[in-house]
Symmetry: C3
Subunit: 171 residues, 3 copies
């Protein structure tokens, strides 16, 4: 039975490793889908699809704008200017995220850089922000419980949020 | 034999999971290699190496420029201005891709942001684009079958391309 | 014993695949942690935490600035202007890395784009650079042995560094 127990242990270790790696990839996929989904949201029908990245009671706390809760409120916050901006060209480039997983919850930190055309043949970085994505797995799917977004204009609260990285690094 | 069949099932599940994860990483590697390869392409010898990221009959449809097919045509499209721009400094920063795999084919969506020095001590975003990478596995290697690139200046066709994300999200 | 040896082979293949994938993810995590760690480094206490991403004798060769060696020297190089800039807003957006692993060492290439607020409601790309991350695994943890950073202002040495991509691509 020595061999069998070793095989059992090796399978269990592989299954745990594979689960962690799948989660790492799936959480990056959620973050990577935000850009395409928001940059085609020129009407409520589309921003409702975007809002499905959040849990039913999820929170989107937008730096310099306000915080809203629930998919309906999140879908509607984009009515206030965003729909028009999409038709002028808007591009949410996502920086590399750092992802820390703890069972069925996870936290990711990354930067987002919203680019807009400036009317010449150039673009300009409009909103450059830090994002803290608090994620939860529901029915096998990673959803955003809370996304906190803070402009990187030197405010101390943006830096306080980023210091969460200390808790995410390997020991 | 109960135990053995369970082990067989667990091994098969692990092998499938590992294959998907390897593919997810390898496709990101292709996209991540584009920047270094194009930003050193100051002569045909180098852009020919870049063109090997595509299949033999691959297509590169460049927004605002034109579409070209085949490695030779792709290598040569960079003669028209790009070689000189490389010597002035050019940097293709790749945003996080969303990758959807279906057997030996895959689609990735991401943004690219080409930065150029502005002659002072700053850079400016020159071309900010959406990219749809249609990939195929040939002899164990992921290659680009078609890359469609569209400037994010508000054109409806760029948004139509990005709406492909709807088909890529988990159910 | 046929079955058992097959199982042994499959387990060994899975273990090797899983190890490579974990390393691919962990190295991206190190790179992704750099931004949050540097952008909160407004004092030596914080830049010392950042410097722990390097090995004890690690090297940070900063394009246009200078090269420094050892965690203490790396922590202190940020005293020369960076601490003040952090309080004005500074954001190190990391582009997608290409990662090549060889046992307990690895090389990653990526671009970094440092964004700063321009005093209006926009940001500007300040330093846009290529980075070569030479990593080493020590006690199970990936650390930076040498990070070489070069501004993408057209200098031949930046391009020479990026041509290392040729050695990193799959055959």
């Amino acid at each position: 039975m020595q061999v069998d127990s070793t095989i059992e242990e090796r399978l269990a270790a592989l299954e745990a490793a594979t689960r962690w790696q799948r989660d790492q990839i799936e959480i990056r996929q959620v973050i990577a889908s935000y850009g395409p989904l928001v940059d085609v949201s020129d009407r409520l029908e589309r921003s409702r699809i975007l809002a499905e990245l959040w849990t039913e009671d999820g929170i989107y706390d937008i730096g310099g704008v306000r915080s809203c809760q629930g998919r309906d409120a999140i879908a509607k916050v984009f009515e206030e200017g965003h729909f028009d901006q999409v038709r002028e060209g808007m591009c949410h480039v996502m920086g590399l995220p750092h992802v820390h997983i703890d069972g069925d919850t996870a936290v990711a930190l990354n930067y987002s850089c919203v680019m807009r055309p400036d009317g010449t043949n150039r673009f300009y970085p409009w909103r450059v922000s830090a994002n803290k994505w608090e994620m939860v797995r529901q029915e096998g799917k990673w959803l955003i419980q809370r996304r906190t977004n803070r402009l990187m204009t030197g405010d101390a609260d943006a830096r306080a949020m980023l210091e969460h990285i200390d808790l995410m690094l390997p020991a």
